[in-house]
């Protein structure tokens, strides 16, 4: 149990996917302008990360590993994720149209999001059990959510300021991201000592 909590907390804070591993930077910079978009995107990411892990973990352990097909991992995982996202979109559209209206637009963006493929590959390279892998995916998704929410706050504070012309747009956003990421470095070492 303690191990699961450590995995969860370190995925959220220490190894934050966006701010310390640089996975999923595109949506982080592209969709973080407004809070409700940031939250919608993050919830879609958490959702897809969980189902992607639930699908790829058994494939890796019961299909690829026993038949010595580990080298097919990249191809199989990206195909499974792309198919899953399509499937989820169809199912949501048919059965939960209200959820589809709020998340639907973000789903196609997630297929080629490196955070989702990244979490499935990392779960395998860290040799997590199924439960640990699911907890790690949940933590990574929550970390993404926190980073997005925090950053959309930072961005709304930047807007309306007098910024030098060459820094307008992306450069100032990146510098702000640097400071946000700096604040997350403060968590380093906290989690291990919490349970020591």
């Amino acid at each position: 149990m303690t191990k699961l909590i450590i995995i969860l907390l370190s995925a959220v804070f220490i190894n934050n996917y966006v701010l310390s591993k640089f996975l999923g930077i595109c949506p982080f910079l592209g969709v973080s302008k407004k809070l409700n978009n940031a939250v919608g995107m993050s919830i879609a990411v958490i959702f897809v990360m969980l189902i992607a892990t639930a699908a790829t973990w058994p494939i890796q352990h019961y299909l690829l590993d026993p038949h010595d097909l580990g080298y097919l991992q990249t191809i199989v995982f990206i195909l499974v994720i792309a198919a899953l996202v399509q499937l989820v979109e169809i199912v949501l559209k048919r059965y939960i149209p209200s959820l589809h209206r709020s998340l639907g637009v973000y789903l196609p963006l997630i297929t080629t999001n490196c955070a989702v493929l990244g979490v499935t590959i990392l779960n395998n390279s860290e040799n997590y059990t199924f439960i640990e892998a699911m907890v790690n995916s949940l933590g990574s998704g929550l970390g993404f959510l926190i980073a997005m929410v925090m950053f959309s706050g930072v961005r709304s504070a930047i807007e309306g300021n007098d910024i030098p012309e060459s820094f307008r747009g992306l450069p100032v956003t990146l510098v702000a991201a640097a400071i946000t990421s700096l604040s997350f470095m403060g968590f380093g070492g906290v989690i291990e000592n919490l349970f020591a």
């Binding site: 310390s20 969709v31 963006l109 640097a178």
Partner: protein
Amino acid sequence: MRTVRNFTKGIIRENPVLVLVLGTCPTLATSTSVINALGMGAAATIVLVLSNIVISALRKVIPDKVRIPCYIVLIAGLVTAVQMLVKAYAPTLDESLGIYLPLIVVNCIILGRAEMFASKNKVFASAVDGFGMGTGFTLALFLMAAIREVFGNGTFCGIEIPVLAENKISILTMAPGGFMVFGLLIAVVNKIGRHKPQKTDFGCQGCPQAEVCSKIICSDEKEAEGVD
């Protein structure tokens, strides 16, 4: 002449990293040291050239409706091949690039060039375009890595630099330094380049997701205008 232009546009005018702002994830993650940056750049360039050649050769065979999944499968196959080569001949590079090597599959630059250029042009032109874009990607990575390694670690390609080695700014090699150096570099490019700073602050041209993404961003701007 056109060949030369196809090649050079990727390096300067349409540099994938500093002007089009594609492939930010590997740029930030692997630019901690010059060796890593060059390794990543080389791997991505090989995949880019080969994928442009294959996709351009198959452009009349692949049905339009399922082109993106087809491209992804082709690219994933090429990435797997490169990954196995790196594992066999440069195991230390494989270790330091880690997860970012398989993640070349979802690098926007590669899918973007397939969609924007290779699917509409002949094989040779596509190969040149891929090589130019790959070179631009590698140069931008090299530039960032050089700044981060020289000032952050006091070394260049692992060789120590006398004065800087004693006065490291080690934050530059960590995550915040990556964002910071990248932001400053783009600001410098904006300053030097005569082109105006982009209106939308995230350059999505060429990204296959641009259509969906711009829908979200555009709806944002419309709402903002409405409020004003």
